[in-house]
């Protein structure tokens, strides 16, 4: 009945998470939520890395994951900073109201 969990399971899961994140990025108007969705994507990557590293019985993947987390933090920080600057001038956090630059 319950078969053992293989790496493939993790890959499927991460793929799914990636998709959810992607949808979030593409569909939500609120920039904050978009940033969150990006976090989701990075987590999907991490699931991949961890799965592989345990599959390969080495920690490289985990290290990689740590760095991914770091990057995620950094991006979030800068992103929110920019968001604040934007909000200061434009009074909005909705992605589709930001379209001065086009064509």
């Amino acid at each position: 009945m319950l078969h053992p969990i293989t790496t493939a399971h993790y890959l499927v899961l991460s793929a799914a998470l990636l998709l959810v994140g992607t949808i979030g990025v593409l569909a939500r108007r609120n920039i904050v939520v978009i940033l969150m969705s990006i976090e989701l994507i990075l987590n999907a990557v991490n699931i991949n890395l961890i799965a592989f590293s345990s599959h390969l019985q080495q920690v490289t993947g985990q290290i990689f994951a740590i760095f991914v987390v770091t990057v995620a933090v950094a991006e979030a920080a800068v992103g929110l900073g920019i968001l604040i600057a934007l909000f200061r001038n434009k009074e909005t956090v909705l992605a589709d109201e930001v379209d001065l630059l086009k064509w």
Partner: protein, 688 residues
């Protein structure tokens, strides 16, 4: 140095005169006209004397030919002739004096000199005096080049040159639009002929490998080429093409239309260029190519028939013309037709003989008419003349002689040559009774229209207004002297070509034929030997022609003196025919419709449209979409000039917008594009 070696000076002297006019003419014209009046005729006289001397020397020379080569003019590169042998595209700057060219240069310089003298008086009161003489000298130069050249290519130089001068001289009164038109018409129609000439030359290069007269004759005579009696071969084509050139220059059907219009030029010009010399260049050229034509009987036939047709056509038109100069112009065309008839049947010396006599009396008639016009204060319409006999006696008597001569009254120059032509046309193997008939009819018409002219101009009661009548006076000496000289010529010139029939006269009276004999390949080369005709036939034909001539004269006198009302009624009764004749068989109209409007203008504009629309690419769209198409005119303009580039730029711009529209400025749309890209790449690598 001998005169023979200095023949290259003969053309050069008039050129010097022309150059002088071009450089210093204007100043001379203002300060010292006399200088011009002396200098220019002097150069021609000089070259006449030189020519005479050279001819004398030539007479004494064995072989009767002398070639002087200055240097290689067109020193082209090697090429393959039709038979694969190698030849070099080359033409000398060289001169050939032989009996044929000697006759020509004497005529050109002699008549040319007389007409120069005449012009001193005739143009005395005209502006652009120096221009006129400059052109005239230039013409003499080119004409001499034409007849003295030792190869066809150099001959073509003169050929084009005289065309240019006739253009300049016809357009001399260039403030008159008609003059300009006539000039251009003459040049362009001639160009059509020249195209034929050029192709002929190319063929000559391709087949024979050289265009030097001596080479060509030697090659054609060498038996390398058989007589093309069987079919219409390369040589026949070559000959035909040369003849096309001749029809242009010598105003034969279908290219004769320019000559009557050329009468826009000053009368001396008409006399020199359009009667005595230039228009005979074609005849000279055909005669020069006798070796070729003798190998191509079929072309010869074409020549003869064309000549005959032209002769009678022009004569018929001349019957009803009212412009004194036009009558003479058509008469010239018709006389040239005679000459080609002679050439066609292979009686080249007779053609040249007629050319020579014709030069005298036709020049005389033109100058005379000029004198008449001069007296009438510029009036050229015969219907407004009449009764000038006593007002301008010298002109009258000289023209009287001229008219008799052209009509072919025995003893006068015209008689000998014309009668010889008729006889040869009848008797030569190439000829036929039909041709003779046409010739005879033409002779009758000639006599008629000439005497119609005489009667309308000199006899009967004056029809001009008093003012003109009061001022009608004899022309100055400078004009009458040439008339007299020419009249004398018209009487005497014929006596060196007395028919063999008149056995009473010793051979010296037939110098002309003997003189020209060495130049032309004997008639025997025409395949079939000359059919023998009895003396009786010849006598009969001669009398017949004389009778016809007299008949024509009588009819003219009857109609225009005794029954002046008749012509009008006849014209009315035969309305259609009359209209057709006076409208010159509508040839000009037909041509105008066919070529000028049809081909050039129509084709040109069609192509201009084609160029802008089709070639310039599917401009419909381009112009239609063009961004700054403000007013219709601009729109049309851009539409017209638009090209593929516009089309391209349009398409690019058009393509530019969709690409930019994707750039909505919405960050998530960008993300979407990104994801679609991912999808595309994944899918692609999946399906491969």
């Amino acid at each position: 140095m001998s005169f023979l070696d200095s023949i290259w000076l003969i053309p050069l002297l008039p050129l010097a005169g022309a150059a002088a006019m071009l450089l210093a003419g204007k100043r001379l014209d203002q300060r010292a006209r006399a200088v011009i009046s002396l200098l220019c005729p002097a150069t021609v006289l000089a070259s006449f004397l030189l020519s005479a001397a050279a001819v004398m020397e030539l007479a004494g020379k064995a072989g009767k030919a002398h070639e002087v080569i200055l240097y290689t003019w067109v020193a082209g590169l090697p090429f393959h002739t039709a038979d694969g042998s190698v030849a070099r595209l080359s033409a000398d700057w060289g001169f050939l004096l032989d009996p044929l060219s000697s006759v020509m240069i004497l005529v050109v310089t002699g008549i040319g000199f007389l007409i120069h003298v005449y012009s001193i008086g005739y143009m005395g009161h005209e502006g652009g005096y120096y221009r006129f003489f400059g052109y005239l000298n230039l013409f003499v130069f080119f004409m001499l080049m034409l007849v003295l050249a030792n190869n066809y290519l150099l001959m073509f130089v003169g050929w084009e040159g005289v065309g240019l001068c006739s253009y300049l001289l016809i357009g001399f009164y260039f403030h008159k639009k008609s003059a300009g038109d006539a000039a251009s018409k003459a040049f362009i129609v001639n160009r059509i002929g020249d195209a034929g000439f050029i192709i002929g030359l190319l063929l000559m290069f391709a087949v024979i490998g050289s265009v030097r007269f001596l080479d060509v004759n030697q090659a054609l005579g060498s038996g390398r080429f058989a007589v093309e009696a069987a079919g219409f071969g390369t040589l026949s084509l070559m000959a035909l093409m040369l003849f096309v050139g001749a029809t242009g220059k010598s105003a034969q059907f279908p290219l004769y239309v320019w000559l009557p219009d050329a009468m826009e030029g000053p009368t001396p010009v008409s006399a020199l260029i359009h009667a005595a010399t230039m228009v005979t260049a074609g005849v000279y050229m055909v005669a020069r190519s006798s070796a070729l034509f003798s190998l191509t009987p079929e072309t010869g036939m074409i020549v003869a028939v064309t000549g005959a047709f032209t002769a009678i056509l022009a004569a018929s038109i001349a019957l009803v013309q009212n412009d004194i100069k036009r009558v003479l112009a058509y008469s010239t065309v018709s006389q040239l037709g005679y000459m080609f008839m002679a050439c066609g049947v292979g009686a080249y010396w007779v053609a040249i003989f007629h050319l020579y006599t014709h030069a005298f009396f036709k020049a005389l008639l033109f100058l005379g008419s000029g004198s008449v016009i001069h007296a009438m204060g510029g009036e050229q319409d015969l219907r407004k003349m009449g009764g000038l006999k006593n007002r301008i006696p010298v002109t009258h008597w000289t023209m009287f002689v001229g008219s008799l001569a052209i009509a072919g009254i025995p003893g006068l120059a015209g008689f000998f040559s014309k009668d010889e032509i008729l006889w040869k046309v009848y008797s030569y193997p190439g000829g036929s009774a039909a041709l003779f008939g046409v010739g005879l009819a033409t002779a009758g018409m000639t006599a008629f229209y000439m005497w119609r002219l005489m009667n309308l101009a000199f006899y009967g009661k004056p029809r001009m207004d008093e003012h003109t009548a009061a001022h009608a006076h004899e022309s100055p000496r400078t004009m009458t002297v040439p008339l007299v000289v020419l009249a004398a010529g018209s009487v005497l010139a014929g006596w060196i070509g007395v028919p063999k029939l008149w056995s009473a006269f010793p051979d010296p009276f037939r110098t002309f034929e003997h003189w020209l004999e060495p130049v032309f390949t004997p008639v025997a080369a025409h395949g079939a030997p000359a059919a023998h005709h009895g003396h009786g036939v010849e006598w009969m034909l001669m009398l017949l022609s004389v009778a016809v001539a007299l008949g024509g004269i009588w009819l003219a006198r009857h109609l225009y003196i005794h029954r002046p009302h008749l012509p009008g009624s006849m014209a009315r009764s035969a309305g259609g025919l009359y209209a057709t004749l006076s409208n010159k068989w509508y040839v000009d109209e037909i041509y105008g419709y066919l070529f000028v409007d049809g081909l050039a203008k129509g084709g040109g504009s069609a192509l201009a449209g084609f160029d802008s629309r089709v070639v310039d690419g599917g401009v419909n769209g381009a112009g239609w979409m063009t961004r700054f198409g403000s007013t219709i005119s601009i729109w049309w303009d851009t539409w017209i000039i638009d090209g593929p580039v516009r089309l391209l730029s349009f398409m690019v711009k058009a393509a530019s917008y969709p690409m930019r529209v994707l750039q909505t400025g919405l960050v998530q749309a960008y993300g979407l594009a990104f994801v679609l890209g991912v999808l595309a790449l994944l899918a692609w690598s999946l399906v491969r």
